[in-house]
């Protein structure tokens, strides 16, 4: 990496940050609502990338953390009457404990065996939700949890900058709640993955036996990674169920397609980059929603896009994966390096910091 490269990354980061911060003033209110939901998908993707992208412990059932976080918060709020702040904390802790428990088999199992464990765990949880419909809402899920921030009346500041209805105010407030959480999680993972811990994670992904040979207790780091991943996934989901965006329903938090989407986003964005899956999660959400809502008709076959969106969407994803097996972000990074080297072959390489 060169100084100029780092500089250009910083500029892109600052531009993205400014863009996200000013999104309420640039986008329509419904698009802003979509972006809020997309940020949550980005958070889920980051939580997956932290353990699977960095340490190589492939999880195909990350929805278990989202489900545990979201349902814990929802049940405690609806049945026990705890406030959203407390239930979000409880959901986060519960998902962290789930991460720790899933991490235990990861100490003994590798590759497909571990993947199978993670795949089965959320299936069990879905069945539990169906077995206890009174408490967990069954297939329809739980609705009507208290909102994290009550926006019943228009807020003066937002009215002053042009947002009129209470609905608009609520969308803007929850957008900033999601953005703050997204940035906090991103910053947390950024610091962790660029630290010595991040180096050990990468080393575990590359060669666990070699890691042991240098005296690293890989088990400890794997447990930590799973726990952190659970904590972050649970935090995002527990917060989500206290927004107007979603309830705690299996199809939003628990079912297999949720897990598969997160894995797909991780691969598409670039495993082990955090930034790639975070950004791809947002784009992914918009592409999926656009296709789902489209009333265009596919020429020649005459099928409405909205009815066959899944075929189109996953085909596009597979094509991107085929063309860019390392993911979009590493490809963009390589591309910018190639362009820069062509323009300035004397760019001075520098060491990375730890």
């Amino acid at each position: 990496m060169t100084r100029r490269n780092i500089e250009s990354h910083r500029i892109v980061g600052i531009v993205c940050l400014i863009g996200l911060a000013s999104a309420p003033f640039l986008l329509g209110i419904l698009t802003l609502r979509q972006l809020t939901a997309a940020l949550f998908l980005g958070m889920f993707a980051m939580s997956w990338d932290y353990v699977s992208g960095y340490t190589g412990q492939l999880s195909f059932g990350h929805s278990m953390f989202f489900g545990i976080g979201g349902y814990t918060a929802a049940v405690l709020n609806l049945n026990v009457g705890l406030s959203p702040v407390v239930t979000i904390l409880a959901g986060t802790v519960a998902a962290g404990i789930a991460g720790l428990l899933v991490g235990v088999p990861a100490l003994r199992l590798r590759g497909p065996y571990l993947a199978l464990i993670t795949l089965i765990a959320p299936l069990v949880l879905v069945q539990i939700v169906n077995i206890y419909p009174d408490m967990l809402g069954g297939e329809g899920g739980l609705q009507g949890m208290d909102l994290l921030v009550a926006v019943d009346e228009p807020i003066g500041v937002l009215s002053a900058v042009g947002f009129e209805s209470a609905f608009e105010h609520r969308v803007v407030v929850y957008y900033y709640v999601a953005l703050l959480l997204f940035l906090a999680i991103y910053a947390l993972f950024y610091v962790f993955t660029r630290s010595y811990v991040g180096s050990v994670f990468t080393a575990i992904r590359e060669d666990e036996d070699a890691v042991a040979a240098v005296g690293v207790d890989a088990a400890k780091f794997k447990l930590f990674a799973f726990t952190m991943s659970g904590v972050v996934g649970g935090l995002a989901a527990a917060t989500l169920v206290h927004t107007p965006l979603a309830g705690a329903a299996p199809e939003r938090l628990l079912v297999l397609p949720v897990s598969i989407e997160v894995v797909l986003i991780g691969f598409l964005g670039g495993m082990g980059t955090i930034t790639g899956p975070a950004a791809t999660g947002i784009v992914f959400y918009f592409v999926r929603d656009t296709l789902q809502a489209s009333d265009a008709v596919i020429p020649l076959v005459g099928l409405p896009v909205g009815e066959v969106w899944e075929v189109l969407f996953y085909s596009i994803a597979l094509l991107v994966l085929f063309a860019l097996p390392r993911g979009v972000l590493p490809w963009l990074s390589d591309l910018s390096r190639t362009v820069r080297d062509r323009n300035d072959p004397s760019a001075e390489p520098i060491s990375e910091t730890h």
Binding site: T202, G215, S351
Partner: protein
Amino acid sequence: MSADESEPLLSVSDLTVSYGKVTALDGVDIDVRTGETIGVMGPNGVGKSTLVDAISGFLDYEGSITYRGMEVSEASTQTLVENGLFYCTERRDLFGQMSVEQNLRLGSYLNRDGENERLEKVFELFPRLEERRSQEAESLSGGEQQMLSLGRGLMSDPDFLILDEPSIGLAPVVLEDISDALAAITDLDVTVLLCEQDITFALEHADRLYLLENGAVRRSGPTESLQSDEFVESYIGG
């Protein structure tokens, strides 16, 4: 290099290792004392790597291997590394997608005190690694990867370094660099167990030699005395 006459740092006694029905090592006895450089020689497939894998705690074995009085089979790799043992494998086991510097710093995982000073020493010993400190390990040449493997071993501040075939696959000019580095390492009072099939390399560095054949020690003794040994001569000749 003067050897300590007290308890051996490493004592291998009646060591037998089998892979299923195949016996790779059969009743091997080896002692290594503090400050020594011990050469274990023999052609491919004779059991050298099996020996050092067992000593480093990566294989089950019969008999006894004690390092600093600890039975290796009862100690974790972490404990062995904490006690100064570091194993540079024949495969080198580098983390290919990590930078040279990250690979080196991982070597000092259990001993972060003085990490930066050791890093500077490694760069003094292998200036080429400093030039390539930000480069991914997989992009290095074979010789540079060997330097990195040795450097990572030194980053752990080892008392006892096990080197499995450090000369393998290296061009003569690179081999000279590795040889110089090994001489510098032994000057640092690091005890070394050197597994080699390059006889010249082993004779140049080892204080004492063990010659393996078919999984058993056929000859052992000080390097000077073995240089004129018939069996060793036949090995050199062969």
